[in-house]
Amino acid sequence: MELSVNDHGNFAVVHLKGDVDLQTSPQVRKGLLGLLEDGRRPVVDLSAVTYIDSSGIASLVEAYQTARKKGLSFSLVQVSPAAMRVLQLARLDKVFTFHDTVEAATVGA
């Protein structure tokens, strides 16, 4: 799994690539919580996520809840079919904020 971050003003666009599973999700959790600690607003690009399991979903949920507590936005963009399938199975497709493009997610950056 690869994680990279690009700055878009106040937003931090986090690109995830590959499988997000028990082995790799701690890296995702640490990365997202670190950005939130710095007051950044994560926009998580899931277009290149080939697989995600419950531990990966848990990392996203924890970051989402941390963002809410801090009054920061948190959104998912370009969610791959594999990731959307698990979000739907977890009934989280109505919880997260989704955008089709990074540009749409970073309006006002």
């Binding site: 499988d19 599973d21 028990l22 082995q23 697989y51 399991d53 419950s54 531990s55 979903i57 848990a58 990392s59 949920v61 924890e62 809840q65 594999a82 399938r85 698990v86 199975l89 977890a90 009934r91 989280l92 919880v95």
Partner: protein, 151 residues
């Protein structure tokens, strides 16, 4: 002492049987093996993805909870195809788990963690703990039927 490999725990056409160390680092290999075993079956990509997910989540529970992250034991995974179902059994050598103590998270409750069993239940037709073979700790059996549309 390494526990002996248990006898077959499924009936039907054997698709794959493997013994893997219960480590997070091995989950990707397990997923690849499970996906490979499902090639050629009359099932669509979502059906295959879901069964891979169920096996992965079951292995994850064994790594995290049955062995408690100690990485000291193995998982024996067996997959068989019988009639309109695929049957997967997962045998570990950890201390027996009381199935009644397993909590399935209400998905309406938004919080990290506890989703694994919910996902397994969502994507399989049956998930049940059975009596393990001699020398083993737990045996989880997953059953997934092919959809009428072919998966």
């Amino acid at each position: 002492m390494i526990p002996p490999v248990p006898p077959r725990t499924t009936s039907g056409h054997l698709l794959w049987r493997g013994r893997v160390a219960a480590r997070a680092a091995n989950l990707a290999d397990i997923r690849r093996a499970v996906a490979g075993a499902l090639e050629g079956l009359p099932a669509g990509p979502d059906w295959r993805h879901d069964l891979v997910l169920a096996v992965d989540e079951a292995c994850q529970n064994i790594v995290r909870h049955a062995y408690g992250g100690k990485e000291t034991g193995d998982i024996v995974i067996e997959m068989a195809w019988k009639d309109d179902t695929v049957i997967v059994t997962l045998v570990d050598f950890a201390d027996p788990v009381d199935p009644h103590c397993l909590v399935i998270r209400d998905p309406a409750e938004v919080r990290p963690g506890g989703l694994g069993l919910h996902l397994i239940r969502e994507v399989t037709d049956r998930a049940e703990f059975l009596s393990p073979p001699a020398g083993a700790g737990n045996l989880l059996r997953l059953i997934k039927r092919f959809d009428r549309e072919g998966g």
